[in-house]
Symmetry: C2
Subunit: 83 residues, 2 copies
């Protein structure tokens, strides 16, 4: 029996990869007076609703989506959460 | 005493607001054969490291950052997590 399952995927640049977008945010926060900010990394969050046979099957399917489309695994890491 | 605190902010479009980016991802997933996907919403995730006097003060500061810079509160909602 299929059920409607919600999943959340975080896609972030890998640790060694320069994040100019995060750096720009950090700089802008400094300009606005938030002086305590040490580092900023910015990524994507993707919330999906999908029909699957269960949480395990949903996780496998979302993993395949990440590998094929949602993340660029050369420079990005992803993290899947089934809600 | 100040401590180095990690925070994560999710910024998503509010529920009623059209999300063309998420819609494009949904369509692309369908094209790739992921037929069970019902809806996709895409947002931003921002990970910060900041110096603050404690978790409560950190949360207040991150909230101010969201209101001033990180989110457009007319069309976006945000959610703060202190890690």
């Amino acid at each position: 029996m299929t059920a409607r399952i919600k999943a959340r995927v975080h896609v972030m640049l890998k640790d060694g990869v320069l994040d100019p977008q995060g750096e720009a945010v950090r700089h802008a926060l400094g300009t606005l007076g938030f002086s305590g900010v040490q580092s900023v990394r910015q990524g994507k969050v993707i919330e999906l609703e999908l029909d699957a046979d269960g949480p395990d099957q949903a996780r496998d399917e979302v993993k395949a989506m990440c590998e094929k489309l949602l993340a660029n695994t050369v420079i990005e890491k992803y993290d899947i959460e089934i809600l």
